[in-house]
């Protein structure tokens, strides 16, 4: 089952078994963002404590498969204490990590400009544990599981920004 071990790397199973930053934060001041995968019922809830351009704290709730929940846990660990700017950069990097391989799998990657662009997104950002999720791209139907937390985070940050600009 070599394919399976690419998908379910030990670090992923570790985050699934012992998810980091589980729990709630009082809303407000924290902002709550929810994401659903309508195909399989995976659910991610994020509590984001963002102030002065920094993600001061993050807590997560929700349920789903090992990939969605491990990705949520790893993301929370990666962004806690980071600036919003770096967090957004990391979102871009992670999505690029998933989509580059997605296009290659579909045979669309012919060295086109978008590939090069995404590749440059990957430079200069340390993914750390998150690199373990790279194996997911060999299983295209699971990419949505891995990206759910990140898309939810992006929506949460967008909502916070929109609220800040109108207040």
């Amino acid at each position: 089952m070599s394919g399976l071990e690419d998908l379910y790397r030990e670090i992923i199973l570790d985050h699934y078994r012992a998810p980091r930053n589980r729990g709630e934060l009082p809303v407000p001041p924290a902002h709550k963002a929810e994401g659903f995968n309508p195909l399989c019922g995976d659910e991610v809830i994020l509590y984001l404590d963002v102030a002065d351009g920094e993600v001061r704290d993050v807590k997560t709730e929700g349920q789903g498969c090992s990939i969605s929940q491990a990705s949520t846990s790893m993301m929370s660990a990666a962004i806690k204490g980071s600036s919003v700017e770096d967090t957004r950069k990391l979102i871009g990097t992670f999505k690029a990590l998933m989509s580059i391989h997605e296009s290659k799998l579909e045979g669309a990657g012919d060295g086109s400009s978008s590939d090069t662009e995404e590749a440059s997104d990957l430079e200069g950002v340390r993914l750390g544990d998150l690199e373990a999720l790279q194996g997911v791209v060999k299983f295209p139907v699971r990419i949505k599981c891995a990206t759910l937390a990140w898309i939810t985070l992006q929506h949460g940050l967008d909502e916070l920004e929109a609220a800040a600009s109108t207040s």
Binding site: G3, C40, G41, E43, G64, C65, S66, I67, R142
Partner: protein
């Protein structure tokens, strides 16, 4: 044990069952989602395209007439499979979903008034929920729900009260998640006693249990070819002639008219009134071949095989995994079809499906397009294994072994 069907001979008719998945023999246990196709269906479709293909109901040349005859012959086969009075009561649509939508957009919009109610059940597929939500959002109608009992059968205690003031009772004859079989006649009788019509979603039951729209005393019946050995892209709405004749048309276009002027149009006769545009011709012919195949086996034998194999699966799963594997659905095989939904040791359905796939075992993971039911069950998703005519005890044994591997992989 299951002597009702010669499964080895049936398996030989399904080319896809000869392939391997991840180095293992394929074990296809997702027929509740869509069935595989026998060579008889593939050949019928191939032959039409190679030997006699033209559009239907148009040309006067030989192959156009041949294709039209083949298409209408398929309608006759489906009609008799469903127990219809006449072929013209069968409207070809894309699938059961479209059949239900057709009723919602034509009959219901002409007959359901603000203040009326439509009664559904808690075990419905989204196909028999969302069209009614859309209607309810347009006009002030009430959706009422027949609840599920803890034994996974419908609670019909308050059926008469629920139907009071209702225009339609729309329900599934067999749950795609729980396998639960509905007492169709009990439901249609109650609907008619309350002055309501009865729509039966037979998408899950038609492949497995004999359908008899007249014995059911139904008003509308929806089904899909792809779950019963036929191709995707075609299904049927059956309705009584007098209903179809009074219903307004659905989609407008060619075929569905008898005359068109710059001032307006008049509708064609039934069923073509509801079949705008070039239909799924080859798919209809394929469906006809699928119906022949099932009729050749005999639906009683098909059902007997399902009961036997489902019983074996329930027994093996419970014997091997005990309380670690929670089955959602009736355990009495006379009350259920061959779809077995379960939770296993808290491992997410997605992860189970992924691991058993490494063993060549194809099972469905998710909410099975029945999110309200998932809410009633209190689970986000289940794994579902479902059997059909080409499955045997070896397939169930392979599932059990693959689940044991998933258990080992996620043990913590």
């Amino acid at each position: 044990m299951t002597m009702s069907l010669d499964v080895a001979r049936i398996q030989a008719d399904f080319p896809i069952l000869k392939r391997q998945v991840n180095g293992r023999r394929i074990v296809y246990l997702d027929s509740a989602s869509s069935s595989e196709k026998p060579v008889q269906v593939l050949d019928a479709m191939d032959r039409l395209y190679r030997e006699s293909y033209a559009n239907v109901h148009r040309g006067v040349y030989t192959i156009a007439e041949e294709t039209t005859a083949a298409f209408e012959n398929a309608r006759s086969k489906v009609a008799s499979f469903l127990g219809a009075n006449e072929p013209h009561e069968v409207v070809f649509v894309r699938n059961a979903t479209e059949a239900i939508n057709l009723v919602a957009y034509t009959w219901a919009r002409a007959n359901v008034r603000p203040g009326d109610a439509i009664v559904l059940t808690e075990l419905e597929h989204h196909a028999n929920i969302v069209p009614w939500h859309i209607l309810a959002a347009e006009r002030d109608i009430e959706l009422r729900w027949i609840p599920l009992r803890s034994d996974y059968l419908l609670d019909l205690t308050n059926l008469e009260q629920l139907l009071d003031g209702a225009k339609l009772l729309a329900f599934s004859a067999m749950s795609n998640v729980l396998g639960t079989i509905t007492d169709v006649r009990r439901m249609t009788d109650a609907a008619h006693a309350a002055g309501a019509l009865a729509l039966v979603d037979a998408c899950q039951s038609a492949p497995h249990v004999a359908t008899d729209v007249r014995a059911w005393d139904a008003d509308f019946v929806a089904c899909s070819a792809h779950k019963m050995l036929g191709p995707s892209g075609i299904g049927a709405l059956w309705a009584r002639r007098e209903l179809l004749e009074t219903m307004p048309p659905f989609l407008g276009g060619g075929e569905m008219i008898s005359n068109v002027t710059t001032q307006g149009f008049t509708s064609n006769e039934i069923p073509w009134k509801f079949e705008a545009g070039t239909p799924a011709i080859t798919e209809a012919v394929g469906w006809g071949a699928a119906v022949d195949y099932l009729t050749g086996l005999g639906m009683d034998a098909v059902r007997e095989h399902e009961i036997g194999l489902t019983g074996y699966a329930l027994h093996r799963l419970r014997e091997r995994f005990g309380e670690e594997l929670a089955i959602y659905g009736p355990l009495d095989t006379s009350q259920r079809g061959g779809a077995i939904s379960f939770l296993f040791r808290g491992i997410h359905a997605h992860d189970i499906s992924q691991v058993v796939d490494q063993h060549g075992v194809c099972v469905r993971a998710g909410h099975h397009c029945a999110k309200p039911l998932m809410g009633v069950l209190g689970v986000p998703a289940t794994t579902r294994a479902s059997v059909y005519i080409y499955n045997d005890e070896n397939d169930i044994d392979a599932l059990v072994e693959a689940l044991a591997a998933a258990e080992a992989f996620f043990a913590f």
